[in-house]
């Protein structure tokens, strides 16, 4: 009983530490990556006793600055909501990560342990539900600020997020139809099958259109460029106008955590989760763990090597997707608001519906 509890706490701690560290490191990655794109060096001035760690200390300096900055609540603003809004913006993100499987099921002390905090049958709905919770953060921030500009900014933000929430949901229906399950663990499991014996059935291969819809919709949900109309820090007045100090920081830390989580969802649904093509564990290939190539070659590996390789693969896929989101953020110009809405409702929405129809017909036809 204590072992079960320990395992659960351990998994939660592992995921939380990874997201929080990931979000912290992403603040550094963002500065360094944008610097490299524009042929600069990037953050490298902060140092502790001369140790700079390639500019990582700058993130620490940022955090210190934010913590000691004046924490301003507008007079006649709603104090409680003003305090709660960043929490609402940040907390749902962490809940979402609970159902992402970050490794294969393993056997520990005679138990089967799934490397996934929550094994939930309605997993995808859970992701979408908590994804939409973040809207409350922006809306409450705008409302509690007692500022018409912040309120309008919050309205704009929530309108955008709800528009893209729909695309997010519709684009996930394709993979759900194909894999026939809402549970992320089983979705990942289904992706280790092979079309014609050699093409891995990853979501991006089975549902390329859904991926192309999901990626921009997910980026719009993180409220980052090119969809950064909700905040547009220095140019547009957004929902976070009346926020300062660490509460402002929480909005943006939540954003970075959201990047990690969305990369996790994308890995799970579209990039085969923790799977490496042609790598099987013992239960899948009658006790012969290792690489089974389609031309018959077999490269044996230990059971635990497979587990570690798969967890590393998950990490690598996560990092590549986070890199991709950053690269998109630093490449594309911001949309105008009417363009933003047009892309969502008049371009992505019909494509998403068409994708669902075609996928449904194909699934029906192939199932016969």
């Amino acid at each position: 009983m204590f072992i079960d509890l320990g395992i659960i706490v351990g998994k939660i701690a592992f995921v939380l530490v990874n997201i929080l560290n990931g979000a912290g490191i992403l603040t550094w990655v963002e500065r360094k990556q944008s610097a490299l794109i524009s042929d600069r060096i990037g953050a490298n001035r902060a140092s502790i006793l001369g140790i700079k760690l390639l500019g990582l200390v700058n993130s620490l300096a940022d955090a210190l600055k934010l913590i000691f900055k004046e924490d301003f609540v507008p007079p006649r603003g709603v104090r409680v909501l003003h305090f709660l809004a960043p929490v609402f913006a940040m907390a749902p993100v962490f809940f979402t990560m609970a159902i992402i499987p970050f490794g294969p099921p393993i056997e520990l002390w005679g138990r089967e342990v799934k490397l996934q905090i929550l094994d939930l049958d309605i997993g995808m709905l859970y992701i979408l539900a908590f994804g939409s919770m973040a809207v409350y953060g922006t809306m409450l921030a705008g409302w509690a600020s007692n500022s018409k500009y912040a309120l309008l900014g919050g309205m704009r933000a929530s309108a955008q997020m709800i528009s893209y929430e729909i695309i997010l949901g519709l684009s996930l229906i394709g993979p759900i139809l194909v894999f026939g399950t809402l549970e992320p663990g089983r979705m990942v499991f289904a992706q280790n099958n092979y079309l014609w014996g050699w093409l891995p059935q990853w979501g991006v291969i089975m549902q390329p259109v859904a991926f192309l819809l999901f990626l921009p919709a997910a980026m719009a949900e993180t409220k980052r460029a090119p969809f950064d109309l909700p905040e547009g820090e220095s140019e547009i007045i957004g929902f976070a106008t009346e926020y300062s100090g660490m509460r402002w920081g929480m909005f943006f830390l939540g954003e970075f955590a959201e990047i990690v989580v969305l990369a996790g969802v994308m890995t799970t649904v579209f990039f085969g989760g923790y799977h490496i093509p042609f790598l099987f564990d013992a239960t899948e290939k009658l006790g012969q763990a290792g690489f089974h190539f389609p031309w018959g070659a077999y490269f044996p590996l230990g059971e635990w090597t497979v587990v570690i390789l798969r967890m590393v693969a998950f990490g690598v896929k996560l990092s590549v997707l986070m890199w991709l989101q950053m690269q998109i953020r630093w490449t594309f110009p911001r949309f105008r608001y009417d363009q933003l809405m047009r892309v969502s409702w008049r371009e992505m929405m019909p494509i998403a519906l068409l994708n669902i129809a075609v996928t449904g017909l194909l699934v029906l036809w192939l199932a016969k």
């Binding site: 990556q33 610097a35 490299l36 794109i37 524009s38 042929d39 600069r40 060096i41 690269q327 998109i328 630093w330 490449t331 594309f332």
Partner: protein
């Protein structure tokens, strides 16, 4: 519809920059000799080389005996399009020139660095070649330069080479010719 291919092209450009610079970084970390990859100057320690044509903050030139060359003729003040030069003339007592600037002030916050004062000066008393690029300050007063401040950047040796043997006689054409030869 033409928008989407361009997005991919943009991604290609930025990714190329990213990976080129990233590889250089990695190469340097591994001790490989790579040419300076990036355009950043570590500013306070490392300065950007200044082109010979650079025109920086104004300075006032001295005669070999250390007196300001300026004869307070007001030509620069007249030529200044921003009206940011303020000269107060006084009678010179050394007998070589009639007037000298009691006060010579430039308000850098109004100055547009057009160089018309330098062009207008018949005595070559004001120059803008002093190489200063860090025109920063914490208050408005710091941008208000007075005569002595502008004089202190002009060592005697810098212009003695132009007109040493002329010994204080103001012959601007010679100066200009010498300057032309210098560059």
């Amino acid at each position: 519809m033409t928008y989407y291919p361009e997005l991919l092209r943009g991604m290609w450009v930025t990714s190329r920059h990213f990976f080129q610079n990233f590889n250089r970084f990695v190469g340097r970390a591994l001790g490989m000799k790579v040419k300076r990859p990036l355009v950043t100057f570590q500013y306070p320690e490392e300065r950007r080389p200044i082109a010979p044509r650079w025109r920086g903050r104004h300075r006032l030139m001295l005669r070999p005996d250390g007196a300001p060359r300026c004869v307070a003729c007001m030509m620069c003040e007249t030529a200044c399009p921003d009206k940011c030069i303020y000269i107060t003339a006084g009678e010179a007592l050394d007998g070589r020139v009639e007037k000298y600037p009691v006060a010579f002030e430039i308000d850098l916050l109004r100055c547009c660095f057009c160089g018309l004062c330098v062009e207008a000066c018949p005595e070559d008393a004001i120059r803008m070649d002093s190489g200063y690029i860090d025109l920063g300050g914490y208050s408005r007063a710091e941008f208000y330069m007075d005569r002595d401040f502008m004089l202190k950047d002009s060592a005697l040796t810098t212009h003695a080479q132009y007109r040493g043997e002329l010994d204080g006689v103001v012959v601007t054409r010679v100066d200009l010719l010498a300057q032309a030869k210098q560059h």
